[in-house]
Subunit: 422 residues, 4 copies
Amino acid sequence: MEQYKIDEYNHQHINDHQRKFNFVAEYVAQLDDVLQKLQAFNIAIPSWALGTGGTRFGRFSGGGEPRTLEEKISDVGTIHALNRSSNSISLHIPWDIPENATAIKAHAAQYGLHFDAVNSNTFQDQKDAKLSYKFGSLHHTDKAVRDQAIQHNIDVIKYGVELGSNALSVWLSDGSNFPGQLNFRKAFQNTLDSLQQIYAALPDDWKVWIEYKPFEPNFYSTTIGDWGQSHLLASKLGKKALTLVDLGHHLPNTNIEQIVSLLLMEQKLAGFHFNDSKYGDDDLTVGSINPYQLFLIFNELVEGMDARGLNHATGIGWMIDASHNVKDPIEDLIQSVEAIKIAYAQALLVDTKALVEAQQSNDVAKAQEILQAAYRTDVRPLLAEARLRAGGALNPIALYRELGVRDTLIKQRGAKTVATGL
Amino acid sequence: MEQYKIDEYNHQHINDHQRKFNFVAEYVAQLDDVLQKLQAFNIAIPSWALGTGGTRFGRFSGGGEPRTLEEKISDVGTIHALNRSSNSISLHIPWDIPENATAIKAHAAQYGLHFDAVNSNTFQDQKDAKLSYKFGSLHHTDKAVRDQAIQHNIDVIKYGVELGSNALSVWLSDGSNFPGQLNFRKAFQNTLDSLQQIYAALPDDWKVWIEYKPFEPNFYSTTIGDWGQSHLLASKLGKKALTLVDLGHHLPNTNIEQIVSLLLMEQKLAGFHFNDSKYGDDDLTVGSINPYQLFLIFNELVEGMDARGLNHATGIGWMIDASHNVKDPIEDLIQSVEAIKIAYAQALLVDTKALVEAQQSNDVAKAQEILQAAYRTDVRPLLAEARLRAGGALNPIALYRELGVRDTLIKQRGAKTVATGL
Amino acid sequence: MEQYKIDEYNHQHINDHQRKFNFVAEYVAQLDDVLQKLQAFNIAIPSWALGTGGTRFGRFSGGGEPRTLEEKISDVGTIHALNRSSNSISLHIPWDIPENATAIKAHAAQYGLHFDAVNSNTFQDQKDAKLSYKFGSLHHTDKAVRDQAIQHNIDVIKYGVELGSNALSVWLSDGSNFPGQLNFRKAFQNTLDSLQQIYAALPDDWKVWIEYKPFEPNFYSTTIGDWGQSHLLASKLGKKALTLVDLGHHLPNTNIEQIVSLLLMEQKLAGFHFNDSKYGDDDLTVGSINPYQLFLIFNELVEGMDARGLNHATGIGWMIDASHNVKDPIEDLIQSVEAIKIAYAQALLVDTKALVEAQQSNDVAKAQEILQAAYRTDVRPLLAEARLRAGGALNPIALYRELGVRDTLIKQRGAKTVATGL
Amino acid sequence: MEQYKIDEYNHQHINDHQRKFNFVAEYVAQLDDVLQKLQAFNIAIPSWALGTGGTRFGRFSGGGEPRTLEEKISDVGTIHALNRSSNSISLHIPWDIPENATAIKAHAAQYGLHFDAVNSNTFQDQKDAKLSYKFGSLHHTDKAVRDQAIQHNIDVIKYGVELGSNALSVWLSDGSNFPGQLNFRKAFQNTLDSLQQIYAALPDDWKVWIEYKPFEPNFYSTTIGDWGQSHLLASKLGKKALTLVDLGHHLPNTNIEQIVSLLLMEQKLAGFHFNDSKYGDDDLTVGSINPYQLFLIFNELVEGMDARGLNHATGIGWMIDASHNVKDPIEDLIQSVEAIKIAYAQALLVDTKALVEAQQSNDVAKAQEILQAAYRTDVRPLLAEARLRAGGALNPIALYRELGVRDTLIKQRGAKTVATGL
């Protein structure tokens, strides 16, 4: 993405933007602070999100999907050039093994990208694997399978070290499909024991992020099924172990924002896998189903991080984890990043002082007015201004379409490519 | 499965069986009637259930999976020989296309099997397909796609006619992943229009069964999402259109037995896809999660079919639709059939007269006592006796293991076979 | 609420308003049309919503609750004076029996109010009732109970006729708490028979609205449990019977907007009971939990009503049905009305033509962009302008507080009053 | 309940019982051990369960409800005489304040009853209360309210000490109805601080049981909302603080048995409030909706308690917490106790050794067979035999009806009595 194209586009739309920005800016108390925070805030893109995901019922590829890790990095580079908010990439091993770390880092650096948390995978059998994960990995009844899975995680850490990453993200599909299949206690203890061995292999400045999920692909129990189980493991492991929240990994009606608040309080919140969902782990575009919930989560994050003096941009990990089998993945990711930053901007606009007063006096109607006043504000011009200042496009998705990026990719890569991933 | 093996097994266990049967038989009011009904009651096996199913996260095959339709039929034959309750097979097109119907029918007949409802598939793109179902099939905005899907259904009917089937089972994954993607009304009307064309192609003695499902693989809306939508379509189509209930296709906490009762009342209940689930369309072994619910459904079925004078065995369609990626598929199907027949037997034991009186006088505690008295009865000896009389095994799964059937299949077919299906 | 107070308040804030309105107005295609529609759009207030609701665990009254129907009308008058969007009141019989209809109508007319749908109540036993509704009303096994409930509904119609209402709203709590308690089919048929008798008593220009709800106060089954059951009854009853949608009356994850679209298509949508919820029938302030869902519902309403040429304001019924045991009821209702009109205004801003094109070409990302562009617009100035033109307050809740209305009510009515209702 | 009536009843039915018992006894490996455990196993009855509960929509009293604590104790005495499995009563303060502990204890002792955990109540305002719990109690923003609630709990402990109880059961309804109302972190910390003060007042041999619940009566957040939050509090408080599981206090589809297993592992399981539910905290008769889930929970309990060497009868707390607005409360409680003991008996029949082997080798079908073999066994004769040996009735509910106990109570107490409680 050549910068001049972005500049040209911005030039054409600057007047309209200016009018909108000037309007809303007048109502923002600490404008510079807000804009600086918006500029500083980046969300990592997972390497598997550049291809079209599927379901067990089928996978409908789009065209021009990246065939290599380099092409995936290039796609993230396109996104980052447009929105200046996606400056890192999160690798999933073994879907994307960086054979030559130096070259890959250099390639990424060309786009201003670095490497976020690395993700292990013990929920699928790899071609050359000696043992199968059919009945789980770190929780397995067979020590040999556990050892294989532990070694895989240690290998992933090594890849991460080479790439300059500093966190291992672990999602286990381990669980059971039928009552009786598992002894829950032993499964938990095996998992803990396995994680302790992985924990021991962490470099000093690394963290391990422990994801939880109630169901799928196992449909009776999951061994790390909710935040309480993840937190229990993280507590037993030590300070470098934290709980990762994937927005789609909850039972119906869960109050996620409360969980976020408490994990922050306990200094155990690793960060987020962002997506949206209506039924389960639907992996839909962030903010496409319930944007108010996303705002409420950011409201807790801003409040809780400020209470602990954490830097919003770097205090915890931010990553998208969505699938999108009916959209152009790049457009989908741009929409997700935009939705996240809108929620963040709205949270920054909350009148904190008034809210604390309303809460203290149990003025519930007032508290709601305060939150909704921030939420109902059209903050898109603030995001656009932050992008403009950082060299991004006023309207990333519009420019992406105007430039026909996908058509170019299809010409380069073909119409029937299939990227690695789900 | 040679009959003498079954007979030998039964001979060894006949005394123990006789003691148990004699005990329970004394408490069964109309013993002969119950046993005859249990003998007559068969549940169709879908052709795709003989292989190991998977999820979007992976598929872990077992060994000895059937490589051809003939081998699938052979596996159903094994099940039926053991339990004498699975005398038909339900084909899924195009996973299992019967190229030579006469030969296939003869092959099936060797095992005492015939062909139940045929299932169309417009939720995956076939290799040679001109148009994609990425955005749906019968509801598609593009008439050409709808026409392709209509033609496929008509083709499936033709296959079914050749096989002696008399029902087309339609499950549409058509829906949307994001708000705005679909116009719900137009999608419904396109679906209706498409179904009308398929309906017109039905032979006189055929039915079309319309399945509903709230989500997956689409995660915002499904065009035939609940029983109300299926029933609305079926009502507009005509008498040959009926609603098919898949137990896993409901939102959390749905009272399925009430839906069953009302569809029976309206003469619109096509039949069942049996399975069990804890979270969504988990496709678990029937009766493995909530057997009391299964009993309550059968209680409504027996009551409602008796009220309309329907034959239990043939009045509506009975089919298993489960997946089982951690079990031997044959064992899983034997367990499912057993669970279904247990629920049916318990429902037959309900003291109907007393229940009507308790209901009439709102004696709620009594009504519960009556249902639970039937449910708490150990009816396994009744099932075993019915099997014995029909030439099946007293304990199908025990004999299946004793004979080492799976090992033989692995030797014949190999350890790494993968059957067609999900 | 004296008009001069409102005018004074508006005068003080007119400049700020004008700036905001001018900004957003520039982006609204058919500004006059939108403003006119907003002015015309009113939402009825139920008579029971002026007091503080409770739960089975307790009820915490606020102060100054209305002690009589006249005081309730006065409170609605206050709301309507402030927001000019609540010009009718919906009575619940027997909580609020209008002993002298002429006087009550005159009293309401002083505030510019008329009477919307009347609501019957057969879910509680009245003091002088001969028979109990412990086991239901219109579905009861005992004809005498059904007759009593039918007569009550006919009485309610009579009250409604005197008040100038033209619809009877029926919510039945009839259901069962335990398996076996009910015969679902007979319960449905008794309900249908009872409704037919009520239907026969409807004046020519009246409608009967049939509400559905999956659970509570019965926790195993509800006899009119979902839209499909309500629709089935309404279809059998005739053209004057329609289905009423209460937003809180759905199982988890239900796609309500799809139901709305289909009911509109079938000409069977009576209207709405607005509220919001996170878990069940929580009866929270409209738009307080999931405002995007509310917008999506209005998007379907606008599209579907336009497709049928219905007047938005009068084509179907609009009513709030919320409880609010921790807020001042008047403030809560003002917040609810505001949230409804925000969603409506946003739906009016959707670029319909572009959306149809995106849908037709399955451009899913574009369709989402179109909906979100409307939703993210800050439409509050449009609502304020519509209110201003109608004589209402620029900011109703701010003025309500500034004037200390509640304090005045407490002085007049006392701090410990308890209004009739839940 | 005179013993001779029970003996007479048993005498009449002894032959039938003997035949059934002899049949099943032959299949029970350690018959004496099982029978002794069944005899030893008692479930406490809460004092509020003897009256008819209601919902926010109404309360339909039965007749003969107990008017005093003495009458409640008498009713529990009746239950215990019949089933010999309900030898304690759990008091709810202030619904049932034992003014004269010595007399009450003596009264209870006449029936062979003692006092189980005492329950505090800070979810309702008491008549003479200075401060309101409208916005919570132990989590309240106002220290004065927290202090009042702390003092109430300390008072309840005092009542408990006098009665010979040794546990305080705390359920907090504290939470919020709307986003913004609460600061989750501060609410949690206030709760912790309050509980620490209550903890400090616990006698040495006492425990405090901390219940969790996701929603109702608050519908946005609950401050102790899930097991993870309860466990976090209990961990911070110390060894005397444990987590109490109420079966109805979970989000849809929660795997409760896994939670039970992990709490046992962590030595943090206080015990149970038994009931059943289909939608939420429905407070239905135990085992009336999903008896297999109850069995699975007991399977974890037996396994986990055995692993820690806990006495089944006394190792943790067992209590019913159900409501039943359509049943005779005494019949309902008898049904609940029966369902609990059936599940317990079935769990005792599980072939533990075979299950461990199946789990170790991931023989999932086998593991299911083992569990279902125990579950499908008709254990009612074992329960009857255990009752017989203890002096209870072979069939408690049948005898209760035969003796016309309720009619007698109505004559004694009147037809319109209303017991204290929900």
